[in-house]
């Protein structure tokens, strides 16, 4: 019954999306008709129904209902509870249902909460959100029904890919999706504003907190995904330029640019067309990512569906939505009046520079990701990897980081570099000192060297906006900027440190042997079999000691799962404030020794701490905006109340 109930809720939600679109469009054409007041409630109902439908699927997975095809294919009765739960979205159909749920849920939230936008623009926005949603409902209901029953219930399920049986990964997809699909609001707001021609500071102020929310989740999702790849794949790398990683990086780059250009639009009423364009591009990148991952056009751990039909469906949706939005943009761009002017040397100028560099980076990643697909169409197999992405990306990332250090110190509209000369010189000097110091200390590659120097300069510079301000009265949004920029510097420092300071030791050790790696000594005590809920493993007991510090036990494992039968290696990580010891257990050699791979990775954790700081910065900015908004509303209420009282007194 649960499955039928879930399916019925989904169909109903799809029907409501259709209704929302029709009502929204008709209200737009005929002015505020009687239909207009119904658009918001319909959007809310649509959101509620998708949540109900998703909850039904979760229930089926938790109960391991073996009459449902999807559960049988992706779950197993013996699996730990948390992975039964995570199994809900760890597959194509379930994740598409999650997509639709987030999309409709976001639409419901703006319908409930957003009151500042002119009503006509709001209607256009909700109609757009419904229109985009409809495509995904159709995709789900017509080609990927998650509630399909089997003719005969199965005896047991087939299990979940062991690589996905990891607590970090269990909640990774929902986080990423809140970001990915949350950007659909940016798209809908942009298209809504284009339709009514009302692109101004209000539009930017309304859109910004929603984009910020999505961006926070996207940031956390990317950081978590990177950490997962780092410890689960056992290679010690944290970014592989895998197309699937790029698929989440591209919307992040676009959304980052959008956040910055939206703040120019909100504060200074400039960059109108550009901001609208970025709103369209950001969600388009989410859809391109989904297409790449779900079409079967590339294979990866994340690509569930190797099904050309599904690929063409998403491609068609891509063409309709992106193509439609771009045509609309071309038709309407000229009607968006030109905004305020500003000088090149100004806060706006710096933000424009940042936007251009982010866009260039986006283009570079997009080209690199799509290039192999294009050449393959002409019969040439090519793979694009770090030798392309690292240097080409760095050429645009490095100047962007320099301007990022200076930009926040500049005034709006017009400024002179002389005014920020002393901090500039200080940052520059520090950079030179770091570079010289490092060069003397030990020879580095050029990129890590620049990275280390720039990251330190950036961290210092990002704190400069706090100089001479009363910290307790500083708006949260400024704190957010400072924390986020500092986080970028910290992450960059971790990346540069990891790529230049890592020490690796590979050994074939007998029990009792001691291996030295960097400042660590590691003793192999024993290798013993252990068992988990649905796996068995060989576990190495290692006694690790940092210089003369305390001895700590770490236990890397080589696991064997039996549903499905598969081996994984579970690396062991020992975290210190200044880095991580990373241990992997390999095979037994013929003469009874055990292969051990050990890394000492100084400051590698700063990469993810930095990422979390960036997300925290976003959260602070979001809280600041929400608080300001609440204050404004309560002030408006108080004024109205006071007016009432005065009117009463006068009347009496």
């Amino acid at each position: 019954m649960i499955a039928e109930f879930g399916l019925a809720a989904l169909w109903l939600a799809a029907a409501l999306a259709g209704l929302q679109l029709v009502m929204g469009v008709s209200a737009l054409r005929n002015g505020d008709g009687p239909l207009a007041i119904l658009v918001r409630p319909v959007a809310v109902m649509q959101g509620v129904l998708t949540v109900v439908s998703f909850a039904a699927l979760v229930a089926l997975f938790i109960r391991t209902d073996l009459s449902v095809k999807l559960v049988v294919a992706n779950s197993h009765s013996a699996k730990p509870f948390i992975y039964k739960l995570a199994g809900t979205w760890g597959n194509h159909e379930g994740s598409m249902l999650l997509w639709v749920t987030v999309m409709a849920g976001m639409g419901a939230l703006i319908a409930l909460l957003e009151r500042r936008l002119p009503e006509r623009t709001m209607l256009a926005t909700l109609a757009t959100q419904a229109f985009v949603g409809l495509g995904f409902y159709a995709f789900l209901l017509l080609s990927s029904n998650p509630f399909e029953r089997l003719p005969e219930p199965a005896v047991d399920g087939m299990g979940l890919n062991p690589l996905l049986q990891d607590i970090g990964l269990a909640f990774h997809p929902p986080t990423l999706y809140l970001g990915y699909v949350g950007l659909s609001l940016a798209f809908s707001f942009a298209v809504g504003a284009l339709l009514t021609g009302q692109v101004g500071p209000t539009f930017a102020k309304v859109m910004r907190p929603w984009v910020l929310g999505a961006w926070i989740f996207l940031t956390i999702g990317i950081a978590a995904g990177s950490y997962w790849a780092y410890y689960e794949l056992g290679w010690g790398g944290w970014w592989f330029w895998d197309p699937v990683e790029n698929a989440s990086l591209m919307p992040w780059l676009a959304a980052t640019a959008l956040l910055h250009s939206a703040s120019v639009l909100a504060a200074r009423d400039a960059l109108r067309a550009w901001t609208v364009m970025l709103g369209v591009v950001a969600f388009s990148m989410s859809m391109v990512g989904t297409f790449l991952v779900r079409s079967g056009i590339l294979t990866s751990v994340h690509a569930f569906a190797v099904d050309p039909e599904r690929g063409s469906f998403i491609l068609a949706l891509l063409a309709i939505y992106i193509g439609g939005a771009l045509v609309l943009f071309a038709l309407r761009a000229s009607s968006i009046a030109e905004g305020e002017r500003f000088s090149v040397t100004s806060r706006e100028g710096a933000l424009v520079f940042n936007n251009v560099m982010l866009s260039a980076l986006l283009g570079i990643v997009l080209l690199g990701t799509l290039y192999p697909l294009v050449t393959e169409a002409f019969g040439v197999k090519v793979s694009v990897g770090p030798p392309y992405f690292n240097p080409v990306g760095a050429i645009f990332a490095l100047p962007m980081l320099v301007v990022m250090a200076i930009g926040p110190l500049l005034r709006w509209r017009r400024d002179r570099l002389q005014r920020v000369r002393s901090p500039l010189i200080a940052v520059g000097l520090l950079l030179v000192l770091v570079l010289v110091g490092l060069l003397v200390w030990r020879p580095f590659g050029l990129l890590p060297l620049l990275g280390l120097g720039l990251s330190i300069a950036l961290m210092v510079a990002s704190l400069l906006p706090l100089r001479g301000r009363r910290l307790r009265h500083l708006p949260l949004a400024v704190w957010g900027m400072v924390v986020a920029h500092f986080g970028i510097g910290l992450a960059l420092f971790g990346m540069a440190a990891d790529s230049s300071l890592t020490v690796e030791k590979l050994a074939a050790a007998q029990t009792g042997d001691v291996v030295a790696v960097g400042p660590w000594t590691v003793k192999l005590e024993a290798v013993e079999p252990v068992a988990g809920p649905n796996w068995t493993a060989l576990e190495a007991r290692l006694k690790a000691q940092y210089r003369d510090g305390a001895v700590v036990t770490v236990t890397p494992q080589a696991r064997s799962f039996w549903t499905p039968p598969q081996q994984t290696s579970e690396s062991a990580l020992l975290t210190r404030w200044n880095g991580q010891l990373y241990a992997v257990l390999g095979n037994e050699t013929e003469d009874g020794r055990w292969q051990l791979r050990l890394w000492w990775k100084p400051f590698v954790t700063f990469i993810w701490y930095g990422g979390l700081l960036v997300a925290l910065g976003g959260l602070l900015a979001l809280l600041g905006r929400v608080a300001t908004d609440l204050r404004r509303r309560s002030a408006v209420r108080q004024i109205a109340q006071r007016k009432n009282e005065i009117a009463k007194v006068r009347g009496a």
């Binding site: 690589l163 056992g234 002017r341 090149v344 283009g363 990897g385 030798p387 080409v392 645009f396 074939a508």
Partner: protein, 152 residues
């Protein structure tokens, strides 16, 4: 930038900078991508037109049956990657990835050394039973043909 320049001109400067940066990014990317054509090799290509010694490239193919050997140091593995037409010796020092087995596809990241041996820093094997490195999709068929030819 002098403040005497008119606002209109300053706007123009921004647009020009933006255009130069974006066109630059495109050209740079296009230039860099052209050299990526020589980033992925299968053994027969590497035999015909080898990359220069020390250049970082990827080698993809099938791990030949019976070719995996552990060298005396206990951590270096040598094996042969083939594509049905040519064979390439590979050395890799490290923990073998899960699911790295003889007769399955592999992509090795690394460089050719002066002795004509491919020294891998990284092996990309199948992630699971459904995942073959993208470059190797056609290889499974070629390998199947080779297996049929051998048993005849």
């Amino acid at each position: 930038m002098s403040t005497r320049i008119k606002a209109k001109h300053q706007r123009l400067v921004l647009v020009v900078i933006a255009l130069v940066a974006l066109v630059g990014a495109g050209l740079l990317a296009a230039w860099a991508l052209r050299s990526q054509a020589s980033y992925f090799f299968v053994p027969s290509e590497m035999r015909e037109a080898p990359p220069s010694v020390g250049q970082a490239v990827r080698l993809g193919g099938m791990v030949e049956q019976g070719s995996i050997k552990t060298l005396p140091d206990g951590v270096t593995i040598s094996f042969v990657v083939g594509d049905g037409k040519a064979r390439m010796p590979v050395q890799y020092a490290g923990i073998l990835p899960d699911l790295f087995v003889e007769g399955s596809g592999v992509v090795a990241e690394g460089r050719l050394n002066a002795n004509g041996v491919f020294v891998a820093d990284n092996l990309l094997a199948k992630h699971d039973e459904n995942y073959v490195p993208r470059e190797l999709e056609h290889m499974t068929a070629a390998q199947a043909d080779a297996a049929v030819a051998e048993t005849r």
